[in-house]
């Protein structure tokens, strides 16, 4: 038996050698760079530019059955709004086919008795037809139109010199995302999803590759231990993942102009914990499958899809059935999405950050324990 001190120097030397080996492979293998740099940036651009829940330039067909000064002023307020692009016609049938074909998002009809009814003010004299096949957008169109209508009514009243009696005025004041730009919460959320995918994919592929190429067998034939193998994989890809995160954060701040109100030190801490979870999950997948193709598919199904659907990134967790809400606690991205959105939009809110950090740390330790117990220095 060797003295303990000597054993641990041997261990550090082995881990160092494995890290050096892995680093050389990363640098020489273009596919690793594609996964760590090109793939996350592509996804970030896709999420950042492609996905938006803000309706801008809603295409509207405006039917004015009987043009009067009143309809003229309403038309003006509609077309002046940056939210709408309106075309006008005299007959609703002119727009039927456009609505069916999706060329317009809704039809606004000012009926022949618009002026008379508006003057009486007894009931809403405009008809709005929206395309219900996209309920999200339909609701948006309806709400925006209601806003325009309300504004117009008030203006008309003022113009007529009447006193407007508004019993209650709601002045919305949005905290944390005053522009209500969906970008500002989608981009940090997507960073979490992307980092989960990249982290898990990197380690899932590399361990499976060693099995496929027969190098794992040669490694195991030497006195390496489980800790050496795990550390030799986790450390280099942890560094690579942190680089990916830096790139993604930079893109969010400087290209998408997402504000950042927290501190970078907390961001680094939270990323480190989350990345460990993602890498450990990849290692676990890889250890169980030993095959690159199966590992890649399992990563998509077990890391990417739950992160996408159950993290609150797009779909509100509070609105899910209980069973899904419970499952979502096992999805590490849930904690990171919430943590990132807080850091970017609100700041270092520790009451949010602590529970999230704890959630991720628990999942990470479960994965690492599982991986260590499944990794054997044997083949069977």
């Amino acid at each position: 038996m060797m003295p303990l001190a000597l054993q641990s120097t041997d261990r550090f030397r082995r881990i160092g050698a494995l890290i050096r080996k892995e680093t050389r492979q990363i640098i020489r293998d273009p596919s690793t760079i594609v996964i760590a740099v090109i793939l996350p940036l592509t996804l970030l651009f896709l999420f950042g530019y492609g996905v938006s829940f803000d309706a801008r330039r809603i295409e509207i067909g405006l039917v004015v059955e009987d043009p009067t000064p009143e309809t003229g002023s309403f038309t003006a307020s509609l077309t002046n709004s940056p939210l709408f692009a309106a075309r006008t016609a005299r007959d609703r049938h002119n727009f039927d086919s456009d609505l069916v074909a999706g060329r317009i998002d809704g039809i606004v009809i000012l009926a022949a008795n618009f002026a008379a009814q508006a003057a009486r003010g007894d009931r809403a004299p405009i008809q709005v037809i929206v395309d219900g096949s996209d309920p999200n957008k339909a609701t948006l169109v309806r709400n925006y139109l209601q806003g325009v209508w309300g504004n117009w009514l008030t203006q008309e009243a003022i113009a007529r010199g009447e006193r407007v009696t508004v019993p209650l005025t709601v002045v919305p004041r949005v905290w944390f995302n005053p522009e209500l730009s969906s970008h500002h919460y989608l981009v940090p959320g997507s960073i979490a999803i992307i980092l989960m995918l990249i982290g898990a994919l990197l380690t899932a592929l590399v361990v499976a590759r060693e099995w496929e190429r027969g190098t794992m067998e040669a490694l195991l034939a030497t006195p390496v231990g489980i800790i050496d193998i795990l550390a030799g994989k986790l450390i280099p890809y942890f560094v690579l993942g942190m680089i990916t995160m830096t790139l993604a954060t930079g893109t969010a701040l400087f290209l998408f102009k997402v504000p950042f109100r927290g501190s970078f030190a907390v961001l680094a801490l939270m990323t480190a914990v989350f990345l460990t979870t993602a890498l450990a999950q990849g290692l676990l997948i890889s250890t169980l499958t030993r095959n690159q193709l199966v590992a890649a598919q399992s990563t998509m199904i077990s890391a990417f899809l739950p992160s996408f659907f159950l993290s609150g990134f797009v779909f509100e967790i509070a609105g899910m059935p209980l069973s899904l809400r419970i499952i979502s606690y096992a999805v590490p991205a849930r904690y990171f999405v919430s943590g990132l959105q807080t850091l970017f939009l609100a700041g270092n809110v520790w009451s949010v950050i602590w529970p999230n950090l704890a959630g991720m740390a628990i999942i990470a330790s479960i994965y690492i324990t599982l991986t260590a117990s499944k990794t054997k220095t044997r083949l069977d």
């Binding site: 082995r14 050698a17 492979q25 034939a221």
Partner: protein, 573 residues
Amino acid sequence: MSEALVRLDGVSKRFDATAAIAEMTTTIMGGGITGLAGPDGAGKTTLLRLILGLLKPDSGTLSVCGRDPISEASEVRDLVAYMPQRFGLYEDLTVLENLSLYADLRAVIGEDRRSAFDRLLTFTSLAPFAGRIAGALSGGMKQKLGLACALIRTPRLLLLDEPTAGVDPVSRRELWRMVRTLTSEGIGVVWSTAYLEEAERCERVLLMNDGRLVYEGTPSEITSRMAGRSFHVRNAGERRRAVLAAAAKMPGVIDGVIQGANVRIVLAAGATPPSAEDFKGLSLEVVPTPPRFEDAFVNLLGSATPAVSRLPTAADPATRSAGPVIEARELTRRYGSFTAADRISFAIGRGEIFGLLGPNGAGKSTTFKMLCGLLRPTSGEARVAGLDVAVQTSAARNRLGYMAQKFSLYGDLSVAQNLEFFAGVYGLTGAGRRRAVERVTDAFGLKRYLDTNAGTLPAGYKQRLALSCAVMHEPPVLFLDEPTSGVDPLTRREFWAHINALVHSGVTVMVTTHFLDEAEYCDRIALIYRGRVIATGSPDDLKASVRTPALSDPTLEDAFIALVEADDQKAVA
């Protein structure tokens, strides 16, 4: 040859339902080479992995250098070095980086490390390539680097898993020299191999089949049991295939193979050898020949009679027509600046077996693929049955049958479904398809396996099925890519019995191989090396071309090495 390094006592290892190692009891001694021989799937790799503690035995006890490979894994792995199949190299690291990695893992540092690197780079002659990426090395050089990585810390026991598979004979001979040096220094070596002539050179041999030990002892002892039972039927020449087929049906003959112009037969114990008269008026000579290790193995595996093909043969053996059936004209294929095949030319006549012989990466497969229309030549022309393969690809493919190297049938379809499918692929329908399927089912004796899934067939039947599918449409030309690599000698003989019967009825066969005894079945061989044909001729011609006073009876392997070395010298000059 003193101490026992490995002791197995009733060791078994199962994977799912199949026993990879069944109740094995043996001792492996130090100070020499122990050959671990047997066909693919015999359990050789499993045994090596058990010794190293990479697999845990289901039952039985195993001790390696006095230690338990499972509970004392790291001690065992300090004492035992292992070179897995495919050598276990990191192909994107350089030679030196691979060595450094294994040195760090095995804690070889400081002065020890420098001297180990010096010693190993000199030993393997890899010093000039220290900075080269391992993936860019030739097969032989990878094998040496794999060995160097395994030897970073001088082991008590070295395990080599099929170290020479797919490596050219020159590198193979060099590896033997290197390993001999190691055993003279007192290292015990276990050398697993599918080549029986390799096992014959070891001090001791463990012969395995189906997870069982069928023989252990010295190769000479078991070979000598076969004394007086091996004969050459000389001067068979053009008629050798007919002679082999006739001999196979004679009572007392248990094995027969073609060796150049001769037929080599092995008799059952106590049987009387056939006389020249038994071969109906052919001027043949039956002379005794020394027994080989392979004779003993075939005898152990217990075939009562040699393989006889039930393929219908034409009444008249095919007469060779004048025009070539397969022709390569200046075939060239380049990948960037690398020329995989360089102006390769040959012509193959009707009813001829033509072999492409060469180490991995020499250009065999490239040439082969251009001839069957799977790869477009950069320049030159490939003609099959009078058709330009590159131009009339599908017409030419209809005239050829192709059997790929790996088992390339649908493992989860039944034998009948595979046959139906391939008949359909070749455009056979209705009664034509039924007749074709019946014909091959009869000829290859597949009837009782018709409903069995192809993936679960015994190795020999997989081979039969693959051949059935390739000849379904009665092609005049048959392409075989390494048809019997890794199969046991009995299956290989049976396979060649079928091929010989097909050739007898006029089929032209082209085959690639790196089994030199398989090359003996060929009428002519083209030796391919570094993308060029360096020699063409019958096996006997090639042997004769290297005959010297010092080497009066060269084998095909001797011929191969001499021709390759002569070519290397020309390249240097």
